[in-house]
């Protein structure tokens, strides 16, 4: 909305240029991706690699198509866990981050602790979560995902809210602004880039957390169990097909966060580079 009213008289022309540039930006990585798949396929055939070591992409694609309903059911099951984990972990991380940023004493006593806990391999707790919340309960995996998201989001939120340009704080003080006004008008906008960076990390973490949680036990129609089961049967095309879906969850959620970031802070330096070039 604001972008449209932004600089220059040649807004119409530059959007056309931008679109062309965006298409070109997408074409190259896509070409590389398809090329890599082709090389992979050819290599597997030429080297005669057995299917249980590395199946050819064409085989994986065939298996993907053949088992689509089952894979789709597994993916939606796992996706629900990932989303639940993101909601609990990021929501909790933001809330606790705001609280710790608000009260300096709390931050100083809590943040070192949070950093320490963050370095614990939380994945190690996955089997315990299954005991606590039940093997067949989606909540047990969502909690693993939430644990993985919580600390990066909390630490970045607290950091973003407290690392504000001192000159901006002085300005607000000179204007006799209240703490709440400073929080709303300065701290929150300054923290947004930090929070979004953490949210991008969190999408990957949540996907990892949910799938690893499933490795330790979950209904058979879940990505984690799907991968484990067919790997054990040496039916690797099907495992790979499930891995492709797992990747799609991770990448898809990441892109959603990027999209929201663009909508929420179109003013940010990373998004104005393109506009300035025109």
């Amino acid at each position: 909305m604001t972008a449209a009213s932004a600089p220059g008289s040649d807004a119409g022309r530059s959007t056309g240029l931008d679109a062309a540039r965006t298409v070109r930006g997408w074409l190259l990585p896509l070409g590389i991706f398809i090329g890599a798949l082709a090389v992979w396929d050819v290599l597997v055939r030429v080297l005669g690699l057995p299917q249980f070591i590395l199946p050819a992409p064409s085989k994986i694609a065939a298996s993907w198509l053949a088992n689509l309903p089952e894979l789709w059911a597994s993916t939606t099951y796992t996706l629900a866990e990932v989303l639940g984990g993101l909601l609990i972990g990021c929501g909790g991380g933001i809330v606790v981050g705001v609280i710790t940023a608000r009260w300096v004493g709390l931050r100083e006593s809590l943040l070192p602790f949070a950093v320490a806990v963050n370095s614990i391999p939380i994945i190690a707790f996955a089997p315990l979560f299954n005991n606590w919340f039940g093997l067949d309960n989606q909540l047990s995996k969502a909690m693993v995902a939430a644990m993985l998201c919580f600390f990066p989001v909390m630490i970045n939120t607290a950091r973003g809210l407290s690392h504000v340009d001192p000159a901006a704080l002085e300005l607000m003080r000179a204007a006799a602004a209240s703490d709440w006004q400073i929080f709303r008008s300065v701290r929150v906008p300054s923290a947004l880039p930090f929070v979004f960076t953490a949210l991008k990390v969190a999408t990957t973490m949540a996907t990892i957390g949910a799938i690893i949680g499933e490795y330790f036990g979950a209904p058979s129609l879940s990505i984690g169990q799907y991968i484990v089961r067919y790997a054990a049967f040496l039916n690797l095309e099907r495992s790979w097909a499930a891995i492709a879906f797992a990747c799609a969850i991770g990448i898809g959620l990441y892109l959603v966060v990027v999209l929201v970031e663009r909508l929420v802070m179109p003013w940010h330096a990373t998004f104005r580079v393109i506009a300035d070039g025109g």
Binding site: T2, A6, E170, A174, A175, A176, P189, W267
Partner: protein
């Protein structure tokens, strides 16, 4: 401007005419770390600034001129002495928004348009939207940024950003404008243009200006009085009245009187430096060695 009759310098008592009244103001900073170093930033400053004046504070770096400005604006507290701003204690004056402040950096928020940046103080005071918009527009016209209201700060040049900051500082019609080296980061040509611009704004608004700078020509060109300060302890060593005609333009910089005044300020500065400069440098080296 403010319509209250009390603001008019009609009162018989001469002290009512003083918008800023500093009485024996001292400020001591304690260095952090081992062997806490005591730094006397300001020592017994007495200064009275009348309504409508343009007073520049000039001095070597470390003389406490920015500290003094921040004390007037209640951004820093005093260690001793009293600060009265527009008849109130500094803190009450800040809370009553008696002054507008312009810093060396424009401090505009990237997430707001230029217009919305200027509206910020009005927003903080809780003025209705229509009034905010009208008033901000009026201020942007005053600093000749009317065409850039919808732009974002990063789309403006350094000089334009600083003009937006001035518009923001003036948006509440403050009695005083406090400026801390506002043009220090600008190139010489932009700076001279901004000086003319500022004089025009000062003439139009009638605001009292307290202006911190380390440029002698700038101080002489803008001011009605130049306050020369020396370093540690920060003190006022001389006050030079600038008796140039009130209306100044490009040619003022070429008059004989202008050069005489520049020389006078320069000599006052040199005098204050010779007094404490050399020993101060040695003391500072020693202090850094301790830290």
């Amino acid at each position: 401007m403010s319509e209250q009759p009390t603001d008019r310098p009609t009162s018989p008592r001469p002290s009512d005419d003083a918008v800023v009244e500093l009485t024996s103001v001292s400020k001591v900073f304690w260095g952090t770390g081992r062997g806490a170093v005591r730094v006397e930033a300001l020592s017994h400053i007495d200064l009275s600034i009348r309504r409508g004046e343009f007073v520049s504070l000039i001095g070597p770096s470390g003389c406490g001129k920015s500290t003094l400005l921040r004390i007037v604006g209640d951004l820093i507290g005093v260690s001793d002495g009293t600060v009265m701003v527009n008849g109130k204690f500094a803190r009450a004056a800040r809370i009553g928004r008696e002054y507008g402040m312009v810093f060396q950096a424009p401090v505009l928020f990237d997430w707001r348009t230029v217009q919305r940046n200027v509206e910020l103080p009005l927003e903080i005071v809780g003025r209705p939207r229509a009034e905010r918009e009208a008033k901000a527009r009026q201020m942007l016209e005053l600093v000749e940024l009317g065409d850039f209201a919808g732009h974002h700060p990063w789309q403006l040049s350094g000089g334009m950003q600083q003009r937006a900051a001035i518009a923001r500082a003036l948006v509440l019609d403050p009695a005083i404008l406090l400026m801390d080296e506002p043009f220090g980061a600008l190139d010489e040509m932009t700076r001279e243009r901004m000086n003319l611009e500022l004089l025009r704004i000062w003439e139009r608004t009638g605001t009292t200006v307290v202006f911190v700078t380390h440029s002698i020509p700038e101080a002489v060109f803008l001011s009605t009085r130049v306050v020369v300060m020396s370093a540690r302890p920060g003190r006022i060593t001389k006050v030079v009245p600038i008796d140039l005609p009130r209306h100044r333009d490009v040619e003022t910089r070429e008059t004989e009187r202008y050069f005489e005044l520049v020389t006078e300020v320069r000599e006052a500065l040199r005098g204050s430096e010779g007094e404490s400069g050399a020993t101060e440098a040695a003391r500072r080296v020693a202090a850094e060695g301790l830290a």
